[in-house]
């Protein structure tokens, strides 16, 4: 099992990104996703301490016209959530990969990372949509 001592980003088919660094994984949604959703008006984040398995409903992101579930890309426990999103949900539109991160998970099983896509694979995946 690879240990990522440098931050490395992976992607899911549901358009979440996850940046893995040692035992922690920062999660957000991709530019493709926020662009499809349109103006984001609210993000419901999980509580710190809650544990998720891969694929669990982890957060909800709302635009004016739709509410979409965000799934946990890998299993883990929430150790931090992005406090900026409460007042400025538009951050997700403006900076999906940087300031618009959702939460940080403490990785439960590093082996799960192997099933995620890397940047090139995700790019190809999006082009196929």
């Amino acid at each position: 099992m690879t240990r990522y001592t440098q931050p490395t980003t992976f992607f899911t088919k549901d358009h979440e990104w996850v940046t893995v660094h040692n035992d922690l994984a920062t999660v957000g949604i991709t530019h493709y996703a926020e662009n499809q959703l349109g103006d984001i008006v609210f993000v419901e984040l999980p509580e710190v301490g809650v544990e998720f398995s891969t694929g669990d409903d982890m957060a909800v992101v709302e635009s004016v016209k739709a509410a979409s579930d965000v799934y946990a890309p890998i299993s883990g426990k929430v150790v931090e959530v992005n406090p900026a999103l409460a007042d400025k949900p538009e951050t997700v539109n403006e900076s999906p990969r940087e300031n618009g991160w959702f939460c940080v998970l403490e990785i439960k099983d590093g082996a799960e990372i192997a099933s995620l896509m890397d940047e090139d694979a995700y790019k190809a995946f999006c082009e196929g949509l």
Binding site: F42, E44, E62, S63, V64, K65, A66, A67
Partner: protein, 447 residues
Amino acid sequence: MRYLPLSPEDRAEMLATIGAGSVEDFFTDVPEAARLGSTIEGLPDHQGELAVERHMTKLAAKNRSASSGPFFVGAGAYKHHVPATVDMVIQRSEFLTTYTPYQPEIAQGTLQTLFEFQTQVAAMTAMDVANASMYDGSTACAEAAIMATRVTRRKKVILSGGLHPHYAAATKMVCEAQGFEVVQLPAAVDGENALADAVDDQTACVIGQSPNIFGTVTDLSKSADAAHEKGALLVSVFTEAVSLGLITPPGEMGADIAVGEGQSIGNGLNFGGPYVGLFACTQKLVRQMPGRLCGETVDADGNRGFVLTLSTREQHIRRDKATSNICTNSGLCALAFTAHMTLLGGKGLEQMALLNHEAACDLADALEAVPGVEILTPRFFNEFAFRTPMDAEAVLAMLDEAGVVGGVRASRLFPDGHMGDVILCAATECTTADDIAAYAAALKEII
């Protein structure tokens, strides 16, 4: 048929444009066995206005209206005076015959009145935010319980012994359908704060009422504190909205959700409906609220306007994950409410509330003077319970013969509550000194 503009010639011409032989062509998807040949049997054919009016007037004449004599029935619906202007407002075609304001550019009239309604309800209940109305008080109460389970992620709801039994029943039914536990505290005239002892760390919310079904007004702060200590919410209920002009409102008692019936303001008795449910909560809970919300924004030219907002909570977007299945609310009744409140203003509401309270005090004084009558309600706004030495149903029947509609027997609402000798009665600004004298005199005669 006066409501159908198409002439036989129009129909023939339209069928020709469509290329259909007859309207039968449009119904060929209906299974043959289910197609009706002629008109449905057993129902009359169309009638003119006069004939219909005659029939309906005959039915109406078989009912005794509340204004036709001394009238003292309350218990969740109240006889108040509604200014003539209110009915003029709600009969304006632009309000009466329009739809939910989904196209805000041509619905600012409805939207602005909803925004004003929300502001008024929030101020009256002393809560942060109110929604654009629910069906009525009882369904608002049930929705509040469900909302509390969602907020707290807990499954137990505790109902006070003074909660209107219809509200309790509606809430119990909705909660149990979703697998939540409902604890009903025993009926009690003055026991709202028993909620404080009943709450535990499994409880989603405690639901108390002031004034309660027996008319008792209670400061629910003690229940609020106890609930909050256990991580539960206080839902504060009222059935008489006029009381908010005088008594401690839900927000001052620490309520997290306030729900109630708004019929008293702007709306007639209507034999139980349509009414208007009021629903307010703290700012923190707003995204968990059921029902429609109207919010302020600007248009493309930068002018202030209003839209329905936060609709991702609602069924038409969230479907099976919606906060509620509610779709239609009670828009026109909310308009009647807000128009009446606009006429009253805060000052008028307080004055009206005082008049109600004084009428009820006069009534209590008069009835108390009748030997054998015991007033049970220790503190009240405009209604109270009293005990008679006889069966309440018999007393009310005899009062009826004397031309006095004296109230509701408690046993109608608490069929197994051993309250066969208790009568619930109310007085409002419509109650006159003569009405009260007639009631006391007739009661004295009977018992």
